[in-house]
């Protein structure tokens, strides 16, 4: 259970790994926009190509990336089915009782699949696989810092995220321990009706909450002892700096964007 670490950072030292996290965050947003720009088979083909290229540049084994997609397989199949059966079009391919399958449905389904695939690849390669959670938090804090002017608690939000990330593994381990302890007292989490099983969770949830509050309490005291007093006057060990390569990456993405718009103009029967 401990091994499904959040973010599953996978160090390979690639160009993407070394890029500024703020740039990666911007690029991820840009990439998402790109996937929604696609309108026809050419642009969808291009975004698919771009996704594969991203994986190759990041030097993360394709196997690892595909494994993360497996988790979303259900959503993908669901989208596929919905699109195939629900889209109405002009070219009827198959008909049986109330089921009508049009060519447009098949095309739409494929496009949606590519879109989801590109979305997952783009965000996970640009963010989770190549960026440590802490760098990501820094990036969010830095990008949102203008909002501090209108009194939004950006620093506090970033701090909360860091602490949450820090304690997820700890609390997961704790859950396992409490479950084992209650099993040792004969608790049964697998048998019985739904209500019975939900009730069986009480002996886990209560100790878990109590412990989480105790930890929060102790942590806040420890933080105060280390002179924490909010974001005011705080410095940071790491200073984020954009480098030339970051701007090159940005240019590449901008080019992709422009390319997609251009490709959308090409005439083809396979379009949304």
């Amino acid at each position: 259970m401990k091994n499904i670490a959040l973010g599953q950072y996978y160090p390979t030292g690639s160009v993407i790994h070394r890029a500024d996290p703020r740039m990666k965050l911007i690029l991820a947003v840009l990439f998402i926009v790109c996937t929604f720009l696609c309108k026809n088979i050419y642009s969808f083909g291009a975004i698919l190509l771009a996704s594969v290229l991203l994986v190759l540049v990041s030097r993360i084994p394709l196997k690892t990336v595909l494994r993360s997609i497996r988790a979303l397989l259900f959503i993908m199949i669901f989208t596929l089915v919905i699109n195939v059966f629900m889209t109405k079009g002009e070219v009827l391919l198959f008909e049986w009782k109330f089921i009508h399958i049009y060519r447009e449905g098949i095309v739409n389904a494929c496009f949606m699949l590519v879109r989801i695939f590109a979305l997952i690849i783009g965000t996970s390669i640009l963010l989770t696989y190549t960026t440590t959670p802490i760098a990501l938090t820094d990036a969010i804090e830095s990008l949102l810092s203008p909002l501090k002017k209108i009194k939004l608690p950006i620093h506090e939000f970033a701090m909360m995220m860091t602490i949450a990330l820090r304690f997820i593994p700890t609390l997961m381990e704790e859950t396992e321990k409490i479950m084992a302890a209650q099993k040792a007292r004969g608790a049964d989490f697998t048998n019985g009706s739904l209500i019975k099983r939900a009730k069986a969770l009480i002996p886990i949830l209560i100790p878990l909450f109590v412990s989480a509050f105790r930890r929060a309490d102790e942590l806040s005291v420890a933080m105060e002892c280390r002179c924490y007093h909010g974001g005011e006057g705080r410095t940071s060990m790491r200073v984020l700096k954009y480098r030339a390569s970051d701007f090159l990456l940005f240019l590449a993405f901008a080019a992709l964007c422009a390319g997609l718009i251009a490709l959308n103009l090409l005439k083809t029967p396979f379009a949304l």
Binding site: A181, K183, P203
Partner: protein, 281 residues
Amino acid sequence: MSEIKLENVSYVYSEDTPYEKRALTDVTATIKSGAITGIIGHTGSGKSTLVQMLNGLTRPMSGRVLLDGKDIWEDPKKISDVRFRVGLVMQYPEYQLFDETIRADIAFGPKNMGLDKEEIERRVLEAADFAGVDREWLDKSPFDLSGGQKRRAAIAGIIAMRPEILVLDEPAAGLDPAGRKNIMEGLCAYRDKTGSSVVIVSHSMEDMAQYCDDIIVISDGRVIAQGKKEEVFSQSDLLRSVGLDIPQITLVMRLLADNGINVNTGVYTVEDAVNEIYKLI
């Protein structure tokens, strides 16, 4: 009463992944009926895994766990019966308390056993006495007690199942000397009055030397020594070679022997050491 035997038990965590870790390798050991057995070893030596095998919380990947000669995994559906017979108190058990009152919390185990109301009440009171839980605390919320009191209430929660074998993973961790003594003496009383076996995992060699009959030493997932505590503690070189301490008093005796004084180095309590040295004067 009951005896547990481990036969060639092995266990590996996260097999076939980069995180693979052999927790236990070919462990064969006996927990004798009616004895207080101490298990010593470093953190990460595999002793917590071993302890969870005794009551079927962890299933060995190979080998057998025999409770009175019968494989506990013969019928996996009946494993909860084993958990009632072999009571396990985990580390820092106070963090498992959840019910509104101490009384209800101690009753959780017996209730899961399907006992009737009167029997449960009887067992709660009996367990409270063994574990040193004041009757006055029974109607308090677990969260109103001090750390040491909560610890005792949690131990009572296991004792209330009246296990034939009571297993405790570091029952005295983090307690002050008085609290530690209190708990250890309660466990001795439980053994003496019920004839149940008690298994204690601890880092305190002094406690082990004082309270246990038998000792099992684990290092790196293997049993490297087991037997009567006299035999085990006399092998102080072996213990120190795997980085374990020996009772402070045994160390003093060994240092005396090194200085050329003819003393028995197999001494591990203050009283014995006093007698041993007194003889020389």
